[in-house]
Symmetry: C2
Subunit: 220 residues, 2 copies
DNA sequence: CCGCTTATTGGTCACCGATCCAATAACCTT
DNA sequence: AAGGTTATTGGATCGGTGACCAATAAGCGG
């Protein structure tokens, strides 16, 4: 009865295998932390021998930074997607800010916190963080500018407004690993939302309203 | 010639030795990171055998969290000292916010970032972080309230104002490990300073001015 | 001054990382 | 169908960590 689930050996194309590895690494990074993106852990995840991972990533740190980049990119595409023609900037901003301010996407906040710290010791990760940072910033600046053109936002310095919003978002992200009761008085998440509204001349409550409106009205 | 710097054995009182260990650990934590607060590393720092450290801290994690608490407490006492009767709230706030916003105290910002992330995995550290967080918050709230009473600050919600300032400060702290050129357009450090000024009804530039004034005028 | 408590030593052990490498076998090419 | 390329394996090595412990000696109290 010695079932032989020992799947012998499955040989895949380098591209495919590599993608598979990065995918698994990103998954672990997001769920368990970048320090658990280890040759053995990823190998285990894929049901493969550690040596194989080393074959594709001779330097383990590179896998770590790729995992971060991959996870981060995918998350951004869902949180701050590039212009959807039909969706006004206010709604796009609302999704981004509210999505991060509220409990959702805690994974992502933790990952950023993780990466920002770990980048102190890992050169390649530091570069990846910087890159992702500027991509995000660019996306947000573009969004703000578009909103200004459509008259939805009001600011004389789009870059500055974006920076303020990002600092607030990252500030909240600092608390991503707190597990204290959310009785922080003035709903801590509001800080980012209010900051965005203030900086862009939106009436208080606008952003949360837009999000609620959208989720209640799934099919236009 | 065999100099015998092998200091035989120096036996100290438990209290003294323990303090010495925590001191060394705090130093390493601040300068090299909490993950380097290791039995061996601290022992080396003190010219002592690792076993001794284990004798005082059977659970290594406790040393880590104590190191954080120690370092953090000392730094706070210099950055946000408890009421000095002669110093007006504006100046005390200025020292705190500007001190953190500008390049100084990078060590401290890195340590906080470090601790906030690492607390994801270390229970005892998580508690220490939460404690230090609330001590700092309480100190800042008290300061804001005092400023409101003296008429220097203007806000209808001291706690909220303090939270905003802290989020901005922590947001900046997120970038503590960046080594990119500081050409971030609108001086990134300004975000915290401006946030404080805005939230407390201070004229723009007030805080930086106060700091400059104080450092130019050492002896009253 | 001697004895006893205990701070301090100098190891051991198990665990878990990265890195490297020879041998194996999957699969494509001819 | 045979051969060759190389993806994949299964080790071994090395360095670092925490935990643990018997033995030693420092220095205090009698």
């Amino acid at each position: 009865m010695t079932s032989r689930p020992r799947s012998q050996r499955t040989r895949k194309s380098p591209d495919q295998r590599r993608a598979e590895i990065v995918e698994a690494a990103a998954h672990i990074a997001l769920g368990e932390g970048l320090e658990l993106v280890t040759l053995r852990r990823i190998a285990e995840e894929l049901g493969v021998r550690p040596g194989l991972i080393h074959h594709y990533f001779p330097v383990a740190d590179h896998l770590v930074s790729e995992a971060f980049t991959h996870a981060t990119t995918r998350e951004r595409e869902s949180l701050l997607p590039p212009a959807e023609e039909d969706l006004p900037p206010v709604d796009r901003l609302a999704r981004f800010v509210v999505g991060l301010a509220d409990g959702d996407h805690l994974d992502l906040s933790r990952l950023w916190l993780n990466a920002r710290h770990l980048s102190r010791f890992k050169e390649s990760l530091r570069l990846a963080v910087r890159t992702q940072e500027s991509v995000t910033r660019a996306a947000l600046v573009t969004l703000v500018q578009k909103g200004v053109r459509t008259g939805e936002f009001e600011t004389d310095d789009a870059l500055k407004a974006a920076l303020y919003i990002l600092v607030a978002v990252d500030g909240l992200g600092s608390y991503a690993n707190d597990d204290s009761p959310p009785q922080d008085g003035p709903e801590i998440g509001d800080v980012a939302v209010e900051t965005a509204e203030t900086r862009l001349g939106l009436a208080p409550g606008t952003l949360r309203t837009r999000v609620r409106a959208r989720s209640a009205d799934p099919a236009p």
